[in-house]
Amino acid sequence: MDRTVEMTKQFVFKGASQMPMISVSLGHMDWNKTGAWRAQRPFYEDKTSPCSAACPVGNDIVGFIQKITEEDFEGAWNLIREENPFPGVCGRVCFHPCESKCNRREYDEPIAIHALERFVSDFASNLNKKIRKGPGARKNKIAVIGSGPAGMSCAYHLAKLDYDVTVFESSSLAGGMLRTGIPSYRLPKDVLDREISNIAELGVEIRTGIPFGEGLNLDGLKNYQAIFIATGAHRGRDLHVPGGKGRGVFSGLDLLKKINLGRKVTLGDKIAIVGGGNTAIDVARSVVRLGKKATILYRRSKEEMPAFGEEMVEALEEGVKIRYLVNPIRIQQKDSLHRLECLRMELGEKDESGRRKPVPIPGSNFFFEADNVIIAAGEEVELFFLPKGLEKREGIVLTQRDGNTGARGIFAGGDLTSNQRTVAHAIGSGKKVALAIDCYLNGKDSEEALRQILTGEGPSISMFRYLHPQERLMNPHVVTFDELNTDYFEPSRRQRETKDLIKKRIKGFREITSGFTEGIAMEEAERCFSCGTCVGCENCYVFCPDASIIKIGEVLSHQVDYDFCKGCGICFSECPRGVISLKEEAR
């Protein structure tokens, strides 16, 4: 057979003697445009990972984890700081809803995203990789009231948008609840200082010791084109029981503030803490570190406890006692001793929070004795100093979705405007307001701008896409576990941060967990499924039976050769991470 015959069409032989021994192609098959048979069309389309969609801050989690796998830690840092000025804080204290939604949870164990974020932040600090910005022409002046996570996040993003930002803080040190509310065994002060100073280096002026409503009011801020109020919720909620304001009875937030600012506290040996939230746990673990015995009294059961699970475990390890279904109704004081008259409770119907309501058991009164009683029954917004004209309801300031209060140029956010009082929500809120202020000052529709840059279904947003609308395009669809092809993943253990021995932990306020080493971080990052984001595994290229996946040089082009793609869908089903989509061809 002459195999050099130029073959551009289908062959018809005259007889067996002309035919080859077997049925083989003698020329190329380019003439056969099999793409014409296609009923469905595959195409590449990055989609949203469930972790990013769940992140109140709007971090590009898959993005920074992939950078870690490439050993590009600085790249990971650059990606994180596009959205979040507080990775060192979040990597330590965030309740990481990203991990709860991680698809890997359904396979073996979720990725330790918080630990990877902490790793990146610590890595950057060790290399002294600070955020720097050249002196650009400053645009409008913006005032931010409150230097907590919401205020500082807003200031950070506004500074990056070239605004001239001044932050006013009532306390002597910046940080808000991050500084006063979170004990340093969870969040060391140097980490917080580092991240605040990174923000300050962008040109943000932080003026401390200026309480809003006292020395400072709206009149004094007339030179500012927009104002962001993020004063938080710092007032401990009263227990409203007889004796609840007596001597030796303290608010949990106040006590934490004193301890965290290094002030002297005087306490007896046996401490009763009333409440079941994170503040109760923080107080209990702090007083244990001061050498006291701590007992938490909580009126519901363990399941209803709002405190984060891991911190409860750590508290119990450190010797904190928790008594469930107990509610103080009276605090009697005799000398320095307090007698808490309590009722035992049982769980009734579900209330509006979806938790079962505690109902007192009549006649179950008993007494609990303690030297001090700390009330940690929630926090409230201090409203009296706020400017008039702000709409308030049920203890919070009402705003539109973008933080607009309705008063011209005045925005509000953070704990002040929400009952979802986490660090991550506050950071996300500050970011959203930064964007809203930018829209406001440029006459843009902030509602529409927000809609364009939602991560998944929202509510979190991507600042990157606000600034670069045509880059890293992503379908808002959130990739589910069923959409992955897990044949290409192997089971592996989640890496865990090491913790100090309990004995050592309770001796002081040193941070109890140690971050990942580079090796461990990369191992953990390798576990990431990278849901919805192509990592160039080339399964599509390898499996395509029609050689229709186009590479340019050695790199996937993410283009399909539709002249030949028959639409078999193998690329779609063999993609481990759901990057390829199929759509029906129009007929």
């Binding site: 032989f13 035919m19 021994m21 077997i22």
Partner: protein, 384 residues
């Protein structure tokens, strides 16, 4: 060098000496010790072979189809259900004209469950386009593997070498093992006509429309028709090099006789003794061993029938509804002859029951005593 080895070991020696490049197989009794031996030789590095472990016989043959298309010499071994499971791929191997050699150890097909000798497994595959060669003893097994590659690679058709379960597979006999140099001189490396070449890419086994399909099948038939001549040439060369050989058929006992006893596989070994004994007693009988079943040696048989009036043929297999398959093929072969002997088609030894000298004698006696068979199927040793 002479060694006392089993039939399965003889297969393994044949494979080593053939310098097979790729082996892929799945274990099944009574074949297992063949691939066990080969996998150990491969693992220890004594044999330079790629051994592909697979999850089924279907995959074993599929893997070899890929490897053989890649232009290398391939081997697999199986039995019974394993061979049946390969069925689709057996067609593929012959259709793609791949000179793969397969050793099948004859075993009955269940149910009832049975692991003993019976030709139904290989004969069920008679229409798959494979050359089939049946062996009588362990020496023949080794030698047939070597010859099989020469035949297969000459006509570009796959070859199945068949031996009886246990009677050969697990029974030791003295076997002369040729040296590697001797075999290398007899069996040159495989040179494929078509092969995978990244410099000159081709699609294999592409579609052939009704315009061409018939012609491809015609070519396979033409290749089959070349087998008798090529196999004879190969055997002649083998005989000149090794001083022994095997025809497609072999007559033994008298030069010519009224009664011809036809057998295949190890039954032939027993028949040789019976024929010799009966000749001494004055019976006019001679024996005919059939080694090659596909293509069926029509011309060779017609030549050897000479003046025989009756043919007694013993089948260790059954095509239900027809009878013994060898008998069926023989009848078809003789139909065009002017003088046709009477065919006495005996069916015996299914599922590994021994076909003893007494049973064979009984078959010959019946043939002597009857001018023609009373029934189409003569059950030998049936317990009614």
């Amino acid at each position: 060098m002479k060694k006392v080895i089993t039939g399965n070991q003889a297969v393994a020696y044949g494979v080593i000496l053939s310098r097979v490049d790729v082996i892929s197989a799945y274990p099944i009794t009574p074949q297992t010790t063949i691939v066990e031996e080969l996998s150990e030789l491969t693992a220890s590095g004594r044999m330079k072979t790629v051994f592909l472990k697979v999850e089924s016989e279907h995959s074993a043959m599929a893997a070899l189809i890929g490897a053989s298309t890649g232009g290398v010499r391939c081997f697999t071994a199986t039995s019974s259900h394993g061979l049946a499971y390969m069925h689709e791929m057996l067609h593929w191997a012959s259709g793609a004209r791949l000179p793969i050699v397969l050793v099948n150890v004859n075993r009955a097909i269940a149910p009832p469950w049975n692991i003993w000798s019976d030709q139904s497994d290989s004969l069920s595959q008679r229409d798959t386009g494979w050359v089939q060669l049946y062996c009588e003893h362990n020496q023949e097994v080794l030698d047939t593997v070597l010859q099989a590659y020469r035949i297969a690679e000459s006509v570009k058709l796959p070859v199945m070498v068949v031996l009886d379960a246990y009677v050969l597979s697990h029974t030791s006999e003295p076997v002369e093992i040729p040296t590697a140099e001797e075999v290398d001189a007899f069996l040159p490396p495989y040179c494929p006509e078509y092969t995978i070449d990244t410099q000159e890419p081709m699609a294999f086994s592409t579609i052939a429309t009704p315009d061409h399909f018939l012609e491809f099948r015609y070519k396979i038939q033409k290749a089959m028709e070349q087998v008798p001549e090529i196999a004879k040439k190969v055997n002649d060369e083998f005989r000149s090099r090794f001083n022994r050989g095997y025809g497609a058929i072999e007559r033994y006992g008298k030069e010519e006789a009224d009664i011809l006893l036809m057998t295949s596989g190890t039954v032939t070994g027993t028949s040789r003794i019976v024929v010799e004994k009966l000749n001494r007693k004055g019976y006019d009988v001679c024996g005919l061993k059939i080694k090659r079943f596909r293509p069926f040696p029509v011309e060779e048989i017609c030549k050897e029938i000479k003046g025989a009036k009756k043919v007694a043929i013993i089948d260790r297999n059954l095509s239900a509804g027809v009878g013994g398959i060898f008998a069926q093929e023989l009848r078809a072969s003789l139909y065009s002859r002017e003088k046709r002997p009477q065919i006495f088609g005996f069916v015996s030894g299914l599922g590994g029951r021994d076909i003893t000298p007494e049973l064979i004698e009984e078959a010959i006696q019946y043939t002597v005593d009857h001018p023609q068979p009373e029934e189409e199927i003569l059950w030998l040793g049936l317990k009614k």
